[in-house]
């Protein structure tokens, strides 16, 4: 179910998916095109949500989690290969099997820290290296008690995939659409804060994006020209996006606090314990939303060294302490 809203120089499509409010900013005056694009984005995002939802028994993901050898399609194989590469690249910090820890940790702002034994009991069920994944078959088999989820990449992946669908639509329809600039229509997809942009706007500039908090930009940050379109006009800082993706990791409202120690909701799968001393949230701008999401997640996993890590990556970023 999508709705369309006309702003001064662009359209905004709205829909709900992946437990978020999603927006599609379309740099066009053509209402039909705007509706088409919104529908394509909503369709792609919903497709991915249904396929990989933890909450739907019918999803492919849940079929994998029920155990046994499961034959997967090429898209899932790509995602699993990606998860594998990221597991290696991050030296085990990024692990799609870590969701099992949700059984012990409930980040409700309370002081309910699980016992060391509770956490330890879950560790045997965590570790991508214990998963039998044969990319050639392609087949996956989880050991009993293990489960995987794409929570760490799903939304970012959906934003990028939706952007690709939009580009495919624009390419295929350029002859039908009377406006011959349609092919270059810039579209920004915002899935609850994870953003993907198809290209620069017709005025040659980007979309002005604000991050939902007040904080000074860090070294390496871009400061853009005055806002053209904003997501959160009231909450500076904002910056201009012409391409690529932006993702934010961290949630200032999800934590546990005990004996003066604040436990963020980011858990290190290698220990089963939350990272201490990490920024409340990290926003990264990278070539794709997926990259941005990975970098912001990995930054949080570095705890107090989050900024050092991000600086080493040479990307624009913002940290909220």
């Amino acid at each position: 179910m999508t709705t369309l809203e006309q702003r001064t120089h662009y359209f905004v499509g709205h829909f709900n998916a992946m437990a978020s409010h999603c927006e599609v900013l379309i740099d066009t005056y053509n209402k039909n095109l705007a509706q088409q694009i919104t529908d394509v984005v909503a369709h792609e995002v919903t497709r991915i949500e249904h396929k990989y939802s933890r909450y739907r028994d019918s999803s492919l993901l849940q079929r994998i989690n029920r155990g046994g050898t499961v034959q997967v399609d090429s898209e899932t194989a790509q995602l699993l290969d990606y998860a594998n590469q990221l597991f290696q690249l991050s030296e085990g910090r990024f692990d799609i099997t870590s969701g099992v820890l949700r059984r012990a940790w409930h980040f409700d702002g309370s002081s309910n820290i699980p016992s060391k034994n509770d956490v330890k009991a879950l560790l045997p069920f965590i570790g991508w290296d214990k998963v039998m994944w044969n990319t050639h078959a392609p087949q996956i088999k989880l050991a009993k008690g293990m489960e995987i989820d794409f929570g760490g990449i799903g939304k970012e992946y959906a934003a990028d995939r939706a952007a690709y669908s939009v580009l495919a639509l624009l390419t295929s329809q350029s002859s039908i659409v009377t406006d011959n600039t349609a092919q270059n229509t810039s579209v920004l997809i915002n899935l609850g804060g994870d953003l993907s942009v198809t290209g620069p706007r017709t005025n040659g500039e980007g979309w002005q994006v604000g991050i939902g908090a007040t904080l000074p930009p860090q070294k390496g940050a871009q400061t853009g020209p005055p806002p053209v379109g904003t997501l959160h006009p009231s909450s500076p800082p904002s910056f201009t996006v012409t391409h690529g993706g932006i993702a934010t990791s961290g949630d200032a409202h999800r934590f546990l606090e005990k004996d003066g120690v604040r436990y963020s909701h980011v858990i290190d799968p290698r220990t089963g314990w939350p990272v201490v001393g990490a920024p409340a949230s990290v926003t990264v701008h990278a070539d794709t939303c997926t990259d941005a999401g990975m970098l912001s997640t990995l930054a949080l996993l570095h705890g107090p060294d989050a900024e050092d890590f991000l600086q080493a990556q040479d990307v624009p970023f913002w940290c909220l302490k």
Binding site: G68, Y82, Q85, L89, T135, A137, D291, A312
Partner: protein
């Protein structure tokens, strides 16, 4: 002063610049073009498969075997496999002589004692005891992107037998890894050290205590084998494999413990009165061939789900005149919760060697070049029905049990069943039961388990 020295940099606790690799990975993900790295096995650990097997023939051989299989991935696609087998074998085995309506007395291979077998039963040699240790090591590694090589060595020791061998193979992937061609070879040198020495073929089994005609205290044989293989992935659910192998054995290929009953030439079926048993004699060369066809198919139906069917057929023939067909079928049913069941069916049929004789007539041994009454060279069928049950624990450890019933049924040579022997079953039909328990795990799991026990105790 020391505080002015540049301090040693601390070990890196953060990841360095991973952006380029990340971008490459994401690019692959989003454009869905290529598949990355292969099978994810557990990293630095040894994978351990162990099994204990009991094989019991009705009234005959009892074999207990322990197998330990260790494998480790050293590097990408480079691995080392080690297999260690220990066998203990006791019981009795047919000595080659045919049953008779009177008890028969034989000399032990050592020549020092005798044993007497009851009437109307297959004569068995009860001194059949053996202890065998075998080790097999194989190393495999990619040579180029599509070419892999393996090198192996094996040694097996029994108290009267030593076998050593080497092997090597090359396999070339073609057609985006959908086709594999392989070429392999092996060379084995065996030394047989039979109790009581190596008897000269067709000489008589002397009465104890006596000295038999010996060609020596030990005898050698060489076995060379060449294998050509072709494997084709048909589609995501099926695979076909075709192998041809050719082998050649040279040297002492005779069984030093097997004898043949020699009948009197009056057509009565009675043993000749003097020296009724002679040692068998086989050619000193055997050239054999086999063609092996295997298919693996994964179902995708509501009834069979995604279970896997393995089927194979082998045709074997050699210049001794032996031909055989083997059909083997295994179907694996994955049940809920990590359990699986795998029924197994095997059918084997063999035609006899040209020189297979269940009995000889007095004087015939002078006219023949070769003869053997070894049932393994006769005409028979073997049927095997089995069931394997397995359970996979968390983190991939597996325990499994297998039970199999084996039935072997031979056909007698009519020409050899002379006179009284027509009332006897000359071929030693047999039934056997096989029980096996196996355990597969990772060295990490053992370390983890030991650590857990340690923590509990201290």
């Amino acid at each position: 002063m020391s505080s002015l020295k540049p301090s040693q940099p601390p070990p890196p606790k953060i990841l360095g610049n991973i952006r380029r690799q990340l971008t490459a990975a994401t690019c692959t993900l989003l454009t869905c073009t290529s598949h990355a790295s292969g099978l994810i096995a557990s990293g630095d650990n040894w994978k351990i498969d162990s099994a204990l097997l009991l094989y019991a023939e009705r009234d005959r051989v009892l074999l207990a075997e322990g197998v330990l299989h260790l494998s480790k991935e050293i590097d990408d696609d480079e691995y080392i496999n080690t297999r260690i087998v220990t066998d203990v074998l006791t019981g009795s085995s047919p000595n080659g002589a045919v049953p008779s309506n009177t008890p028969q007395t034989f000399t032990n291979p050592s020549g020092n004692s005798t044993y007497t077998e009851p009437a109307n039963k297959t004569p068995l040699n009860h001194t059949f005891k053996d202890f065998r240790n075998a080790v097999n090591v194989e190393w495999g590694a990619p040579l180029t992107r599509d070419l892999r090589g393996t090198l192996g060595g094996n040694i097996s020791r029994e108290y009267d037998y030593l076998s050593t061998g080497i092997s090597a193979s090359l396999s070339q992937d073609l057609n985006q890894h959908n086709t594999t061609l392989s070429l392999g070879g092996s060379w084995n040198e065996d030394i047989s050290n039979p109790v009581g020495g190596v008897p000269v073929g067709f000489t008589v089994m002397p009465s104890a205590p006596a000295i038999k005609a010996l060609s020596g205290s030990d005898a050698n044989k060489t076995i060379k084998e060449l294998l050509l293989g072709f494997t084709q992935v048909i589609n995501r659910r099926s695979l076909l494999q075709l192998n041809y192998s050719r082998g050649q054995g040279d040297g002492y290929l005779t069984d030093p413990y097997k004898i043949i009953s020699v009948l009197s030439n009056d057509g009565s079926g009675n043993l000749r009165t003097i020296n009724p048993y002679i040692y068998e004699n086989r050619p000193r060369q055997r050239i054999y061939n086999s063609v092996y066809l295997k298919s693996v198919y994964q179902f995708n139906t509501p009834l069979l789900h995604e279970n896997v069917l393995n089927m194979s057929y082998r045709y074997f023939w050699d210049d001794w005149g032996v031909q055989s067909d083997t059909v083997d079928m295994r179907l694996r049913f994955d049940l809920e919760g990590g359990h699986y069941l795998q029924p197994h069916f095997r059918y084997y049929q063999q035609g006899a060697a040209d020189f297979y004789r269940q009995t000889l007539i007095d004087g015939e041994e002078i006219t023949l070049d070769y003869a053997s009454a070894d049932y393994r060279l006769g005409r028979f069928t073997t049927k095997t029905i089995g069931l394997k049950y397995g359970y996979e624990f968390f983190n991939g450890a597996e325990i499994n049990f297998r039970v199999e019933f084996i039935n072997q049924n031979g056909k007698d040579r009519r020409q050899d069943a002379v006179g009284l022997l027509r009332n006897q079953k000359l071929f030693p039909d047999n039934e056997a039961l096989l029980l096996q328990g196996g355990l597969s795990l990772d060295s990490d799991m053992i370390i983890e388990y030991v650590a857990r026990i340690y923590h509990k105790l201290f």
